[in-house]
Symmetry: D2
Subunit: 487 residues, 4 copies
């Protein structure tokens, strides 16, 4: 690392080598060469002829291009670029130096956007696939967690105030549901990605029509063939100079969506850590503050929130870039896409690595869960108490009023005097209410009944919805070799 100049923290701190490589110079220029090779091969297969009917592309040329697909002579290109200030032209030159026979047919009929657009589309397609893998891993972690804790009853919180109980596992299904929506949209957008194909300077394919001597069918086949060779099912039907920047907005939405889901989870974890009911994993070597040895800050979850906020903020740039493209193309997309596209993928990568890391070993403290529940449970069971009393012949209105008064007093005592909830004592000691402490305590012995269908919902959701999805992606999940990523 160069300590004398600014270094991008996304690279130096948070992301996987896999994603960093995808957006490296090496990958970019290798993809350009793949585009040029695909073009030459397609010309060859479509039998491009000169005015005398002789084939323009020779087999040896193609072999030469193949031989030098990956051994990029960066220095050669860099020196040329300093001279002529045109990156595509410089790399044509450098490739040509390595392929003396093919030099003259590299980039034949093409424009810069042919290599830049198609390469960027491949990078984003492959980037989404990496993201998909990471996403599935997190879903898997959360599904395991949900099942494990499906029956641990906890206070639910609305307005961050105690509310009708749920279970720890059920809460986790909500995070999964968000991520499954992200996955579904990711798949939708993956299918939306087409090649920019072979379209010429302003999208009219004029140069190719000329090269094929006005043979429209051959031009259409060329477009299709090159796209297939680059791994796309289709090319965009029509384009200006570039593929529509609107597609970038859809990809950015996928990533911002993942950030939104992750942010919600991150904030919840920070609240849960405060409650001491759940904690992110801590590494053995990790030490807390030297002053407060017991302190365990939810640093990963906070970082998850921070990076998610950053990724969410990027979306607006993509919209405005697409919305402000003038006519067949303006270049106010270049510098901003050059930065925002890789950074968005790197951020999503960092976020999912963190999310995976946290969910893999989340700790639950059932005793604390139970303690919180107990403190508030009395308020929640007052309705059941009323039922019992009525069954025992008491007047509903009278009992209701007694309970109301006791509740108010208990709440006041807690907040104004800082004491524990003594509602049960009050009720048990009230001669009018025909219920003893023993029975009251029994009433809350099995708090699962207050959690309604939380446990069953968790089971049903995991078995009916999540497991089939994970099964479908089994192979991809296996590829997510965690050894490859840095945490």
């Amino acid at each position: 690392m160069n300590v004398d100049l600014y270094q991008e923290p996304l690279v130096s701190r948070y992301t996987s080598k896999e994603m960093q490589k995808l957006f490296s110079e090496r990958t970019k220029f290798t993809l350009w060469r793949r585009c040029w090779l695909a073009l030459a091969e397609s010309f060859y297969e479509l039998d491009l002829q000169d005015e005398d009917g002789k084939p323009i592309i020779k087999e040896e040329q193609i072999q030469e291009l193949k031989d030098h697909l990956t051994d990029i002579n960066f220095e050669e290109a860099r020196k040329k670029e300093e001279e002529i200030r045109h990156d595509v032209m410089s790399h044509i030159y450098a490739y040509g130096k390595q392929c003396p026979n093919a030099a003259k047919i590299i980039h034949l009929g093409a424009t810069s956007a042919f290599v830049t657009c198609n390469s960027e589309l491949i990078q984003q397609r492959e980037g989404l696939k990496i993201i998909k893998r990471r996403l599935l891993k997190v879903i898997k972690n959360l599904a395991d967690f949900a099942i494990r804790y499906k029956g641990i009853v906890t206070l639910a919180y609305t307005h961050f105030q105690p509310a009708q109980p749920t279970t720890i596992g059920k809460r986790a299904t909500l995070y999964i549901q968000d991520l499954l929506m992200d996955l579904e949209y990711l798949e939708f957008v993956l299918k939306m990605i087409k090649a920019r194909g072979v379209k010429g300077t302003t999208g009219t394919q004029a140069s190719f029509l000329e090269l094929f001597h006005e043979d429209h069918e051959k031009v259409k086949k060329l477009d299709k063939l090159v796209s297939l060779k680059l791994g796309f099912d289709n090319a965009f039907d029509v384009t200006g100079q570039t593929y529509p920047r609107k597609l970038d907005t859809k990809i950015a939405e996928v990533l911002a969506g993942i950030a939104t889901s992750s942010h919600k989870f991150g904030v919840d974890m920070r609240l849960a850590s405060h409650l001491k009911i759940m904690e992110e994993p801590f590494e053995k070597a990790q030490v807390g503050s030297s002053a407060m040895a017991y302190k365990r800050n939810p640093m990963r979850s906070e970082r998850l929130t921070a990076l998610s906020r950053l990724l969410i903020g990027k979306i607006i740039n993509f919209y405005h870039t697409a919305a402000n493209q003038w006519l067949e193309r303006s270049l106010d997309d270049s510098a901003i896409r050059r930065i925002d596209i890789p950074q968005s993928f790197l951020l999503a990568d960092a976020i999912l690595i963190l999310y995976n890391n946290i969910t893999k070993n989340m700790i639950v403290y059932p005793k604390v869960v139970e303690k919180h529940l107990k403190e508030e449970l009395p308020f929640m069971v007052t309705e059941a108490i009323l039922m019992k009393a009525v069954e025992r012949g008491k007047d509903r209105q009278q009992i209701h009023e007694r309970i109301r008064i006791h509740s108010m007093e208990a709440a006041k005592r807690i907040k104004e005097e800082g004491k524990n909830n003594d509602l049960f004592e009050r009720i048990a000691n009230d001669p009018i209410i025909p219920i003893e402490m023993e029975e009251l305590n029994k009433l809350i012995t099995d708090p699962i009944v207050f959690a309604g269908r939380a446990k069953e919902q968790t089971e049903e959701y995991i078995h009916n919805i999540v497991e089939p999805t994970l099964l479908k992606y089994e192979d991809i999940l296996k590829q997510e070799d965690e050894g490859k990523v840095r945490y």
Copy 2:
């Protein structure tokens, strides 16, 4: 209109009554009643029984609820709300006043979110359908336009500088392609919309499980049945107190996407108006400035840009609201959704009304198109000239150098002396270049050849892609009765 207090311009100026009605108080409270009716009917059909096995819901009660589905007693509800400050409770009370027998079973087992969430989902679903109609109408307009002008060759512009020609019609296909992406995503999201269903305070369905005496299957059926009655195929599998606010982000993305496409078109129209090659329609009564009678500002296109920018800006709010919901629900979504959801739909409505209005009668000035083309065409045909000269036995390098010099001189003359392009004169007068003015002029007689496949692409795109889509939506297009909307 109340002139003494601020009035929302979206309502007073830009949007359709249809969309305004959808987000009115009347629609909202009528939908709440539909939710309560659906709940009562479903209980009835599932044979909800009291502890003695007697049916809880009576047929007369359901009939009463039906009878008062739409005659909302606003005053009654308003007075109650002033007293108890709870809108749902006030409307339960007001409905109950009209349905004395059913009063006690309205809202049985339910929470506020049962009516608010399900109603908002219906409003958004119906809102998207209105938007879909408007979108299709614009696509239709543009398709007609593209076919009409498929062969009108025009300069293309990259960097807003003249580039290889295209056609007016071909350019229009780019706008259509953007809108078809919006349509595709709209359909995808429409399918994502599910009912919030019958889930209880924190999503556990506890109260309903109690009502059905622990019969899980009946609770599941209730959830499904109510959802079907409200026009949904499904309910969300799991929820907290509310449906996941993440869904709002997807709907907002659809609308922001439409804004992005519309903004790009609006800016292009403003550039085209400057070029005097195209104009938005002008109404007969419309007068320009009193000072400059000839002035025709592209005011609609500018407004389209303005409203689109506003709609694009809303997306970030939706993301942050979803990202910041705490645990089972926090109320920091309420005031912002109450404003941003209706306004987003109203904005999309306003935008598509404008877009429709502009595209319905766009004017093209072929003579101006041709003039611009002619001014720049000489530069663009220099390559062809070179070919001809070489065919006539001249030395390629010598001719290339002559052309280069003439080009430079011509460009300099235009910019430094403000004169017309005299490149052809220079070439024709050059004894070394074996081409006469007559031939040069002939060379540019049929500029369609410089536009490559633009015309064919337009035909293919409209016939193969757009027309089948329009056919599929034929019925919806017919519904888009323009008489209903204010322009």
Copy 3:
């Protein structure tokens, strides 16, 4: 309220009549008339003459304009606008109908932007003054609160985890400091606001130079004089057709800044409500949920958060509008400013009304504060315990290790077993540590010592910084008559 069409919630629910009036049609058109009157008066004072040296403006005309400054004939204007579709022309016509003599000199030499820009500048200037009043009131509330609770020691929280104690009052000074930054910037921007003045169609003042027969000095005086009459110290030195939209961004920053400060406070209040250490005020009539009678949700603070998020989101629109104005002016600012400027002021109004409402009667529960503090205090005083033990002749390392072990055990017990903190018991019962329970309890009797300078900082900050500011604005604070605003 019209129940059949969408109604803006900002108006129907959250804002003051005062702010609603400022952005009403009546205010707008009255301001237009003030602009026209100021122009006529200034012409008169500068002795505008026709080509024969006779005065163009008569005293009677000015009197007529004055007589009809506020009795706007809306219907007349509305009918005209339907015909000619130009709002400024319609209001010139309507004003002229009421002022038959002055009719011909209304708007003399002026353009629409003369009335629209200057009026909008006045509205924003006056809007900022209302906001300033509200802001000062909140600062006053918080200052009173800070002094009242300057000595109430509470756990501070970093990472929402217990940290070194502070005081309730000290925490409040942080909110004040944020608001004082907002106030300081508000004053800065108020001074930045200048009149658009009298600049003509494209800012060159050409028509006025003609009217004054090439007398440059008179044109400059006219610009200055009209600006003074409209309550501005200066006019912008140069303009295009409109005043620079960049100014709008600065005003929007002031409002977004207030939203940012308010959001932070709102979130803190929601966390404090969860902790039960503080609560927003509850109205007597206000009832909680019928199911959970004790529940007190921090609804105002949540709404504060929601509205602040909405206001923060608006900033980006203002930047993009300013950034995208083309050359001397483009109209893509019109529809967006028409909506976003009033809404931003209404939002800031709503936010400060809420913030005032909450801070006026915030409740603190010192007993709960103390309880939380006590639960965590043992961890925080371990260092002091170590000191004491060493003083009593014990080996530092041995005692440190004992304390470390006890701390770990206590923390584990809390989280894994859900029990209270028993660190003191452990220490008191440890024969090696020479400290009894009595002394330990004494050690935490006066927890103010753990809060360092929190109390003194609060006193110093309020007395040295806040009070002088409030004194300076005493008159403005008195004007903030709360009777006028709806909560």
Copy 4:
């Protein structure tokens, strides 16, 4: 450059070494050491004593700290950090290794935020100073340009449609006025920047109060003294753990404001390039497209637009981070500030370098300016023609109607037939209008009269407003040694 991993384009392409160094690891850790040194020196000067009244800090220790202020042993720190995972602790250790005597007093009583916050404040303060220099340079360029072209009359454009003329120089004053607003705000915010000072873990200064044996005055002096040593006039009066993140929003506003001004200029340049009236400078070596040798795309202005959009988009992150800080501090600010603060400064740096580069050598084509003006001028002088005719005894209404008809015909001919404006021919040939072609041509000989006070405004603005400002900053302007920056 590492070609195998992603490289930040801001560093590799667009920014100055000066700004990259400011945000390097070396600068950061050197600043940390400056903080530690300032703390030790201040303790020494305030005579910090142990319990026996002996000085705690020795002169040799301070000398040692000074001796190793800049020779950071990165490797030592890095290895330590790998072990204990705490960057501040690792650098305390590494510094201590170089300063064996001072080791024990480094960081005495301080928290991590002491070094991180104060260092970041210094970086931002110095960053703003660099930006100020760059800004002044651009203002200087534009002022020179404005004076040079103050009298070159050009069409103004509203709605990007021809409007009443202005001058090239006058238009440039609008850009300057925007930048002067930026400069004014930058100065305002520079003054707002205070030290975070010496505040302790949660802002209470508890540890320092202890160190100074409850001497409040000494703690206050310590805070002040350290701040002065770090180059600040003051420290924040109160803080939580960190300085208020609200300050970051004000700094971000300054930078986003510069982006807004620059974006507007960039778009105008792109429109002006299209009109061929102005061009950004081209380097000698720079070649256009190989296909279209004459093409000169406004690439720098487009890049300026792109980078400005990116910088504008960052503002919302800063607001949300400040708005979401919980209580005394939460760590969801860390990763996002680590990325967004440096990137915002780097972007502003890149933008102003480009803006400077463009304005230094902007090219104007007066002949093209004149040509456009001439094409539209006839429409604009019709009012003057009317005056003349009336003076010559003709009936005003008759002549007005003749002119109106001719105008309509001329406009139609231009747009529908693509021909030149022949309004003058029509008027000259009309026997009823008593004006000959010669006189008409004379009327437009000196178009400066149509530009009103544009020239005088330019002179006045530059002399009265801009020059005094530049004079005031003369020294700073000289420092802007362009040799240091890469373009």
